[in-house]
Symmetry: C2
Subunit: 217 residues, 2 copies
Amino acid sequence: MSTVQSESRPGARRKSPADRAAEIAGAAREIALADGLAGITLRGVAARIRVTPALVSHYQPSMDVLVADTFGAVVSAEIGEVAEELAPCPSTVAALGALIDSLLGPERSPVTALWLDAWSLGRRNPALAVEVGVQMDAWQAFVSGLLRAGVAAGEFTAADPDAVAWQLLGIIDGLNAHAIVRYGHAASLRGLVRTVAEHELGLVSGALGTTTEIYLD
Amino acid sequence: MSTVQSESRPGARRKSPADRAAEIAGAAREIALADGLAGITLRGVAARIRVTPALVSHYQPSMDVLVADTFGAVVSAEIGEVAEELAPCPSTVAALGALIDSLLGPERSPVTALWLDAWSLGRRNPALAVEVGVQMDAWQAFVSGLLRAGVAAGEFTAADPDAVAWQLLGIIDGLNAHAIVRYGHAASLRGLVRTVAEHELGLVSGALGTTTEIYLD
DNA sequence: TACCTTGTTGATCGCACGATCAATTACCCC
DNA sequence: GGGGTAATTGATCGTGCGATCAACAAGGTA
């Protein structure tokens, strides 16, 4: 309590460029998760951190790249979280089952909504379109890596792990999108994706776990 | 050539309200298919039919409902086309195979793009959100009707045709979305969806047809 | 041909957005 | 504690959007 931090209106407490940039990124992230990527606005971000729009503008080349960066940050953070979550799994099969559970869980809804925004907004935001490609590739690399590990360990087979990874992600995204837009999350979706995965990988039915099929409407 | 249709600037040739409304709807449709739902603009639609923005505004309660109506018109027209396409099929199984082929074909890309827009824009456009629900239900009703017909004809079994219909549509949408955003359409996607459908319906592998699995990059 | 209905226009409002820049002022360093 | 660096501000520009309304004129009708 050495300095009382005077209440002078102008000149809010200065921060280092790194801190301010992080603060802006954080605000953009919160706004995106609450209102979608389209909700990220120069004035909105500025207001959230009690700062002038000009300052936010000063720290970003353009709003398009702030939106793209925000999307990229959220998605890559999610990949990291999931990877960490799967680390303790004793086998690749177990990890695959956990991955499906995790990706189809209702807690992923906010991020799925961001994917929908990104797919749509990417048409008018080149930077975002690039980021969407990067993050899709990142997810695909993660899943195909998992599949290759399973194949190497002799747990299952996959003639084309890359293709299978794309297919699994496509199915998951589609079911998630439907669930978020129209209906609540249905536990049966997990069963469906498990079945597909088991079929694609030559596993016996139930190898990836089971769930009581209850629709949560 | 009775009337030379004088080139007077003001007062463009009058049309009946019905004709003008249809013209506006057509323009909105073309714009949507070319530039997305977000491209539908008061001034844009007006310019396309050589008319004042005020006139377009006069025929629509708001742009939000024009966007919603346009989306609804495109999608329900698509359902109609597909239904017509499936009519000559000799069996439900054949129709189901044709349906999958049709929905995963590259010619559906423009409409898939509209779905992505609608999912994203629906968050800020209540009328559009309602229309999305209506059209999703319409598709689900169409597919589940097909499934019920197949069950009734003894061609296959389905404990819960409604659920299977949702799942198939979810998978198709997800794969289509991925294909449109990141990669070209892959013929292998059709094989995947066929496999899922066959599994869900207790059909033997290949019952819904086969396709050479060639990635069109 | 004169009238009257109504489809259509032009002008204009208000809003929200992204971006820019000189002026200001907080903070660090000597 | 004075000075210089640079983080921050306030004011302002330009754009594109949806919406409104009095005024105009096209075209059928008497």
